[in-house]
Symmetry: C2
Subunit: 86 residues, 2 copies
């Protein structure tokens, strides 16, 4: 996976999930240091709309335009961030 | 929320999500330091089976027996853990 490509792609994510991957919104998850495989699985579930409940629908629009490669890169990027947000 | 009650309830979770909330399994998310409101929303989505895709079905059995109070306590417990797992 290409972490730099993931970072470039993450511009739309940081508004809610935070530039350091620690979200400013209680309902939105922190992504920093999360498991890459889990992030990929979650993004694909949003893209396929299999995930519903809570704020899931907000993510449908975000995930829809992403290719598998985008998803792999984004997951690797957020997984690479320090979980404590430093 | 009662963090101690959450900790007691978390015995079934630590097998996959780790005693310190950092999972040993790449596909399973870290929970340490995650947003409590997000964890509550996710657990309720698993309990109602609104979340599908990926490994979601594994969580249906885990979330089914949980009351709203259990969910609030579990979410508060994992949110209270150090995100870097120390």
């Amino acid at each position: 996976a290409d972490i730099d490509a993931g970072e470039a792609k993450s511009m739309t994510c940081v508004g809610c999930h935070g530039a350091n991957g620690i979200s400013m919104v209680p309902m939105y998850p922190n992504l920093a240091g999360q498991k890459a495989a889990y992030l990929e699985s979650a993004l694909k579930a949003y893209r396929s709309k299999e995930r519903a409940g809570g704020q899931a629908a907000v993510m449908y629009g975000m995930a829809a335009p992403l290719s598998d490669e985008d998803i792999k890169n984004l997951a690797a990027y957020f997984a690479s961030l320090d979980p404590s947000g430093q």
